[in-house]
Symmetry: C2
């Protein structure tokens, strides 16, 4: 398995484009298109929010067919909380692409991200689609990746290659997201492409597993949006033998898919709104997996923990507060807290003499791990989080202004 | 019922004092004492955090007797996560006061607030107690209220009077808290005194109810600390006839106690770390009380909602995201959101023409109400919250530095 150039167009038979259609202020790109030469299996994982945006509703419908060929995505407007009109607009976006490709509307998927509430500026989108089609090319991956950005400060894309049977298989991906990031999905969109030959059911199971070990382990601010979507389109053009269930090839494919999703998730976390740190929180010794998950999420979303990370302050009492209020049963007397390999708290108390200085050195790093043991069992969980900085407040107090 | 001067010493037979003992930097007051002329019923409500501080463990023990006479409280050190040594220190604090008053140690209650982890500087406390005793007086309420402050910027105390039978009964109170404030208690201490004659069991039930409708409805940052304590000491010196269960007098007393606790809670909320706004969030139409509570808390703790409050940005989509991710079942199509009396969202969508300007006018106020209806039933919940400002980050990134 190795990294290769390009993003979503790195696998065989994919083209992409991105333009400024007029949804965002000029000259920002705001409309992206991804097209495969041939139709292929598609898998999707969506937000658990009870108020899904129109494109999420539409994609869930289209996904029933399990096959697709194109994805159109706009930024600057989430097409969320827009009712029946919004659903019609999302359908029209798909239809306009379908007509030009001469395929069924249900083979086209739609994504939107941006402000919630207002209706999509359909005239701009209608007008933009011809030039979006015209610009479709192998080198269009970066424009597409730029066109899905909102408060992102970096373009997020990558591609890797692995051998499946005798064939070289490529997986590419792009993502957007920096605010509203939280385990179990957030305002994030991720699109993954591959030229692997694979059955839709295996693709769906593999994508769900990849999302579980990647996008679902990052947390910037605890939010879960109306629009979160991860889609994976496989066009079979690598001509590998069909990947059998639970085979060595399946494992290899899963491994590569996890790798792409984890790398994209890490790029999102690194670009967390106002983030100056990226911290891995590991919880060990919980009674159940669910308990471990709840404790790790409580730590990852605690404003007092996150401001302490920003302030590089070894104020471990704040971790104790979060561990104690999380809910799951813990053993106060067996709590341990380490910063990278420096253990600061043992048996629920600070180790004497204090290792505050060593911990402070760890906390000055841009990225490090905090390991917490709660002494109730054998379950673990992991989550990546960021700090809360002045800039987090700044970005979010003025997002629409 | 009317407000009267003074705080915890307004009821008959109470004296208080506050000094600088040397736990915090000079000249800040850091040690407070409250003493009743006679022993009386005492009630307490404590943190639900699984890692309670030493004084909480001690107070829970002493409360079994249901009677008390004095409370000693320090700020600058939470005596939390300090193990067996910490419990011994808390006991010694109680004992030193008990010896000087010639009463049982179990009649003395202890409170601590400040940094978690380090042991109490017992030499400073031992040295401070004689002058703390010496300064005990009727006019000491304000010094005591100052001595329990940490990041608080205002002194929080008040007293009210009401007639029970033929007697005038007074209830006084003081509180500290501005960070880690959240429904179900937080790093907050509140001490309430009264000269009412009342049975300990009625006092305990009444205090729990008062806490439920006051301290448990405020949220600054979603934290729940190791030290949260509300104690209510009643010395019977008003000489009213013993208050019978569920009587008109009981209702009157409950009403007055609620009033004191709500006023103290509001003072804490107004002093929320870095808060520039205080916003009442009302949730209607939930299926169950628990559902309403969860939705209101999710809104009150969402960083995206709280930064929008700070930015005075009518970005109602953030409310929709929080409502949709909260968990409890809702009807997206029936969601309504109002800012004071301006309804902005109806049937899950923005009302056209947009009322953004009117809403912006409401959001510019220092205090207002946001009402959310979720269309699933008849249950409601209410919570007070504050905004997230630059200063919240500033205060918490450098609390110990």
């Amino acid at each position: 398995m190795k990294r290769t150039n390009g993003g979503i167009t790195a696998p065989k038979g994919f083209m992409a484009s991105g333009i400024h259609a007029g949804i965002k202020a000029s000259p920002l790109l705001d409309l992206a298109l991804l097209v495969s030469d041939v139709e292929g299996p598609i898998a999707g994982v969506f937000t658990k929010n009870q108020i899904p945006a129109a494109p999420v509703i539409l994609d869930r419908l289209h996904l029933k067919k399990q096959y697709g060929r194109a994805i159109i995505i706009n930024s600057g407007n989430a097409n969320a909380c827009t009712g029946a009109h919004g659903l019609k607009d999302a359908e029209e976006m798909a239809k306009l692409v379908a007509i030009r490709l001469d395929i069924s509307t249900t083979s086209v998927f739609v994504g939107s991200t941006g402000v919630i509430g207002p209706r999509l500026p359909m005239p701009a989108i209608r007008k933009g689609i011809p030039s979006l089609m015209q610009r479709l090319r192998k080198s269009g991956h970066r424009d597409a990746a730029r066109a899905i950005m909102t408060t992102d400060t970096t373009v997020k894309e990558l591609a890797i290659q692995t051998r499946i049977g005798k064939q070289l298989v490529t997986i590419g991906g792009m993502a957007k997201g920096s605010g509203m990031i939280h385990p179990d999905m957030a305002t994030m969109l991720a699109y993954v492409t591959t030229d692997a030959t694979i059955q839709p059911k295996i693709l769906q199971v593999s994508l769900r597993e990849a999302v579980h070990s990647s996008f679902n382990t990052i947390s910037v601010d605890g939010e879960t949006s109306t629009n979160d979507t991860v889609l994976c389109l496989a066009n079979g053009m690598a001509n590998n033998t069909m990947i059998p269930w639970h085979s060595a090839d399946h494992k290899k494919f899963q491994h590569a898919l996890n790798d792409v999703c984890q790398a994209l998730a890490m790029k999102i976390c690194q670009d967390g709104e106002g983030a100056t740190k990226i911290v891995e929180i590991l919880v060990h010794g919980a009674k159940t997996d669910q308990d471990a998950k709840v404790i790790s999420k409580t730590l990852a979303t605690s404003p007092l923990v996150k401001t302490a990370l920003f302030g590089e302050d070894p104020n471990w009492g704040r971790f104790m507060v979060a561990i104690g209020r999380a809910g799951p049963a813990i053993q106060p007397k067996h709590v341990e807290i380490s910063f990278d390999d420096v253990t600061m708290v043992k048996n629920g108390q600070e180790i004497i003499p204090s290792r505050e200085r060593q911990v402070q050195r760890v906390m000055k790093k841009k990225s490090y791990a905090i390991t917490v043991t709660v002494g109730r069992g054998k379950s673990s969980a992991k989550v990546w989080t960021t700090d809360f900085s002045y800039d987090y407040v700044k970005i979010n107090a003025s997002y629409r202004s």
